[in-house]
Symmetry: C2
Subunit: 179 residues, 2 copies
């Protein structure tokens, strides 16, 4: 079903594709589609809970950083994301293009990102980071991930995600330290 959706969204565009068509392509029915996915959008976001879990786990298990250094933990989470992204590199670009092409899909992606930030903030609090700092660090981590992701999918040199993300995080630290 996911394959059918990805193919059709790619061929004819997201809005022009109907749920009935996806289901038919998969040999099933509209009604069945909605038993698996709550939404026409959700079919593109299947792995997102897994990514969230991995990044949270990375924060939970990272070696204890110097006190107050929330961003070191964020770095660990970004490394986990890097590992996950590299495994699906070939699907990342087409999926990204589809999502970028539709407002509805971008909205859904953003709420997934917000959910990720909330989950990471919780993990940070569990590691003795204060509420505000945890929220800020988590949102910052998500921002870095997005900026890095956009570089990564468009990069002809295929630079590893981990490197791009680390550079971006370092650049943010520099910027915060300056002025």
């Amino acid at each position: 079903m996911q394959e059918a959706a990805l193919a059709l969204y790619g061929e004819r565009g997201y809005e022009e594709t109907t749920v009935a068509e996806i289901a038919e392509r998969a040999g099933l029915t509209k009604r069945t589609f909605f038993r698996y996915f709550t939404d026409k959008r959700e079919v593109l976001f299947w792995g997102s809970e897994l990514l969230e879990q991995q990044m949270v786990a990375a924060i939970e298990t990272a070696p204890a950083p110097p006190a107050g250094s929330a961003l070191a933990l964020i770095g660990a989470a970004l490394d986990a994301a890097a590992a996950a992204f590299e495994e699906v590199r070939e699907f990342a670009a087409p999926r990204y293009r589809i999502i970028a092409s539709s407002r509805e899909l971008r909205e859904r992606e953003l709420i997934k990102a917000a959910s990720l930030a909330t989950a990471m903030a919780g993990a940070l609090r569990a590691r003795e980071i204060g509420d505000t700092a945890a929220a800020l660090a988590a949102h910052t981590g998500v921002s870095v991930m997005h900026v890095a992701f956009e570089h990564w999918v468009g990069d002809p040199d295929q630079t590893p995600f981990q490197q791009i993300a680390r550079d971006a995080l370092a650049q943010l630290r520099e910027m915060a330290a300056a002025g």
Copy 2:
């Protein structure tokens, strides 16, 4: 029409309110509603372009900061946001509760925030900030704004938004400087 929508969303909940009901309350028709607003959601986000313009303008007109200090410009944008928020303080909380209560509405809010980040990044680039730094700083500014906003609407002491936002931004700088 906006008043009718806000009232009905507040009384019966967003999902339980129908566009036809809103229109009827305003003495108009469903069809007319959709001539003013592209969406059932959009009716709650009317001032958002204005806020975006004000924050962008603040970045454009802020005094030149020390080289590379993108976050100083973000601070100016947050001050502009503070002025705008204080003017609508009384509507902020109920509107916030409605948005928080519905996934659809949170999605819409997030994409408005993303649009704001994109616009601010453009303004930063126009002030000689590099691409990556501009994107990071803009996203960071939006994150700070959100974190500060949540404190602000729930704060019984009615601390000014400007102060909360400045504190949050300072805390972020500390965090980035540490570890």
